[in-house]
């Protein structure tokens, strides 16, 4: 077994000094996908915010490629090779779809995006439209494509399939698989199990800010996961 490229240990913290996430640990190897699962409000998004530097850790460590990430700010992450897709307010609504996709590039060239447009022709059709006029699912797709097109080594996605049609979830899965092959690593927060079935490698199930299950996907039964989710 290779050593993990990204790992966090004993992560504890929350908003305004409160503890929402309590002693959560996990890790993922290069080219693999770690899924963080759990019901609404169990602290999954807070965990990502802690990991990406939006919130300060009260305790715990975060490492990426031997690099200590504790205390790093979100705006430093992209230069370290990490990107992030938030759960809410996923795009810049007042900018056009095109501007969202090329915001941090030096020019308006879009040839590098053509591969994505084959999967999601809707984006190509709406390039000049304000991203705020897209539907929730379309925004998620735009956000996903934006993150993927940045070409980072580690992608942290908060509920990338929320509101996305099934067909497009499969396209997302396809793109993730391709990117895994070229060595990218993913941490994905999800409620929906579809994407897990398609691309998951590790599973971390949370409840009330704590880890309930941490396991390789193929070593755990579906029922065990579902027990902590949904209806």
């Amino acid at each position: 077994m290779t050593s993990p490229i990204y790992s966090f240990d004993g992560v504890t913290g929350g908003y305004g000094g409160g503890i929402v996430v309590n002693d959560v640990s996990g890790c993922v190897e290069q080219g693999q996908v770690l899924f963080v699962l759990g019901r609404n409000g169990v602290g999954k998004s807070t965990l990502l915010h802690l990991l990406f530097g939006y919130l300060q850790l009260i305790r715990g460590s975060v490492r990426f490629k031997q690099m200590d990430l504790v205390g790093k700010k979100p705006e430093e992450m992209s230069s370290l090779g990490i990107t992030f897709c938030p759960q809410e307010r996923v795009v810049f609504g007042e900018l056009s779809v095109l501007e969202n996709l090329i915001l941090m590039r030096g020019n308006r060239d879009i040839t590098h995006l053509e591969g994505y447009f084959e999967h999601f022709p809707i984006l190509a059709e709406r390039l000049s439209q304000d991203a705020g006029t897209l539907s929730g699912g379309e925004r998620k797709i735009l956000s996903f494509v934006r993150a993927l097109s940045e070409g980072r080594e580690l992608l942290m996605l908060d509920e990338p399939t929320e509101g996305v049609q099934r067909e497009n979830i499969l396209h997302i899965a396809q793109l993730i698989r391709e990117r895994k092959k070229s060595g990218a690593t993913f941490v994905i927060v999800e409620q929906n199990l579809e994407l897990l079935d398609e691309v998951g490698d590790h599973v971390l199930v949370m409840d009330q800010g704590k880890v309930m299950i941490s396991s390789r996907k193929d070593l755990i039964s579906r029922e065990d996961i579902v027990r902590h989710l949904g209806v």
């Binding site: 019901r39 609404n40 897209l134 929320e162 509101g163 099934r166 579902v226 949904g230």
Partner: protein, 576 residues
């Protein structure tokens, strides 16, 4: 009341003693700043209490002064002055009220646009005063204004000014302690919340602006005989600006702040402007400093101390309000309601009907349109198609406060409270909603109102008894409970609760659920709850409404819903 009058008399005696202490000339000079401080009291009401910024307040002073000047010149010694002078003070107030009503009705915010409108209006007044030479005397002003009849010589006018200042302070002290003051402060904290308690906040803010206009008018009416000359500058930008600076430095949120600021900074500036060249620079810097770091101004700290030592809460016997038991249970019907923003459909032909009392749980995945449904019912957003009927009346297109007045209460997902008000002020604001008449708002009796729900809630949640604790100091869970309590106090027939247990510990959750059940059974109310936690839903729901993509996917009992394969599908994906 006695204490109140007593303080006023002490203040008056103090002011009356000043000429003896300082000499007549100085007293006369101070008289001018007494007048300005009356106008500054008005700025304090707008900015310190109701939370909107008047940048052109001198305009009302100017209008009052011109009207007073004409009256005194043309009706010298006529008994008509007894009518004309009060009218001259009231007309600016009326103008302010109408401006306020028009602007605040237009868009419900106290933001910078209102401030800029008042600034533009004051410049307009200045231009009119400068250019309407025949009437106003133009740039040189309206001169030769006689003193008030029977008050020749400036000494006697001083006593009138001092008396009017005392009365103004007394009236403002009364108002800001009365329910209206609490509600103004509530508006400045969280205007949206108050509309959902049934307050017509646009009207109440216009009222504040109107009262400030009257105070400006009163100052202007006395200014004309006091100075004998009214020039356009009185309505202009500089004085407007100074009024604001004085109010800020003195302490906009306090009673005496604006008065102290106007008298202290105003008269010191008049004296020191020429002596210390950088004096005005220092005042400007002081203003910036106060805005950034000292929102309570220089009067803030002493006034709080003073209140602690001398201030007594107005106390009287509690008045127990009759509970509105036996209200007609509501019939709510949404028919094909649609709402879209851009190309996104938030609500898509949403239809459902609730006719029986009971607890209805609204569930569905994120983005299903649950909170938007609440927004549509309470008038927070306007649906583009379809109709919403309460009983047999269409309430689509109603303002939020009109909806609230028909007995619909609401609790928000993120606790929406009045953070800088005390717990008891928070609760009272909710209790008064829909119950206080306009007269009641200026009266002290509502301060003693209570009802059985209030008493019961305080037993269930003991932290509510800590009356004088600012609501912002509560924990997240307590804030949730406080807002829930607030939405219950209005005894709504239909109660909309948006995730009332989010962020609560399991113990708190139990208590909240218990309270909701108690309300349900005692008052036979209809309660619509958005909830994610299925264990809770199973626990309390009489009926479950499942929403998906802006429409109703299923309605039924908990068991039926759980069996429904479509419901399972939208929750955990297809392959379950």
């Amino acid at each position: 009341m006695g204490l109140f009058l007593g303080r006023s008399i002490i203040l008056l005696l103090g002011l009356f003693a000043l000429p003896t202490l300082l000499g007549d000339f100085w007293a006369y000079q101070l008289g001018l700043y007494f007048l300005y401080s009356i106008a500054a009291l008005g700025v304090g009401i707008c900015w310190g209490q109701a939370g909107f910024l008047p940048l052109g307040q001198a305009m009302f002073l100017g209008i009052g002064a011109y009207l007073s000047g004409f009256s005194l010149i043309h009706f010298q010694d006529s008994f008509l002055l007894l009518l004309l002078l009060p009218a001259a003070a009231l007309i600016p107030g009326f103008i302010a009220f109408v401006i306020g009503l028009l602007v605040f009705r237009g868009h419900l915010e106290s933001g910078p646009f209102f401030a800029l409108i008042t600034l533009a209006l004051s410049l307009l007044t200045f231009q009119i005063a400068t250019n309407w030479v025949d009437v106003t005397g133009g740039f040189n002003g309206l001169g030769g204004i006689p003193s008030l009849p029977g008050l020749e010589g400036f000494e006697s006018l001083y006593y009138v000014v001092a008396a009017v200042l005392t009365i103004s302070i007394g009236v403002v002290a009364w108002i800001i302690k009365a329910p209206i003051g609490v509600i103004w402060r509530g508006i400045s904290e969280n205007e949206k919340r108050l509309t959902f308690f049934g307050y017509d906040t646009a009207f109440l803010k216009a009222l504040a602006f109107g009262i400030s206009g009257v105070l400006g008018g009163v100052a202007g009416v006395l200014y004309a005989p006091h100075q004998g000359l009214v020039t356009p500058n009185l309505a202009g930008f500089i004085l407007s600006a100074e009024l604001l600076i004085w109010t800020a430095v003195g302490g906009r949120k306090t009673l005496f702040g604006p008065v102290i600021g106007a008298i202290l900074v105003g008269s010191l500036t008049a004296e020191l402007r020429d002596v210390i060249p950088i004096w005005e620079l220092m005042v400007a810097a002081l203003f910036i400093f106060v805005v950034l770091f000292l929102p309570d101004g220089i009067a803030g700290w002493p006034e709080r101390l003073f209140q602690r030592v001398l201030g007594r809460r107005f106390s009287g016997d509690e008045v127990n309000l009759a509970v509105k038991i036996g209200q007609k249970s509501p019939e709510l019907e949404l028919a094909s309601c649609s709402l879209s923003i851009g190309t996104v459909d938030i609500l898509n032909q949403l239809s459902f009907r609730i006719a029986q009392p009971g607890i209805y749980c609204l569930i569905g995945p994120n983005g299903a349109g649950k909170t938007s449904t609440f927004n549509a019912i309470t008038g927070a957003v306007k649906t583009q198609a379809g109709s919403i009927n309460l009983d047999d009346e269409s309430i689509s297109g109603f303002q939020s406060h009109d909806v609230a007045m028909r007995g619909i209460g609401r609790k928000f997902q993120v606790p929406s409270i009045l953070p800088n008000l005390t717990i008891s002020e928070n609760l009272r604001t909710a209790l008064w909603g829909g119950r206080c008449s306009l007269m009641d708002l200026f009266h002290y009796t509502p301060l003693n109102w209570t009802n059985t729900i209030n008493t019961d809630l305080k037993e269930r949640f003991p932290f509510l008894i800590e009356e004088n604790k600012p609501a912002k100091e509560l924990s997240h869970g307590e804030k949730q409970v406080l807002e829930l309590s607030m939405s219950l106090l209005g005894e709504p027939r239909l109660l909309l609760l948006d995730e009332p247990c989010a962020g609560l510990s399991s113990e708190e959750t139990d208590k909240v659920i218990d309270t909701i059940r108690w309300i349900r059974s005692t008052f036979d109310s209809t309660i619509l709850v958005i909830e994610h936690d299925m264990t809770l839903v199973k626990d309390i729901a009489d009926q479950v409404i499942v929403m998906h993509q802006g429409a109703v996917l299923a309605i039924g009992g908990v068991k039926d819903i759980q069996k429904d394969s479509r419901v399972r599908e939208v929750y955990v994906g297809v392959s379950i």
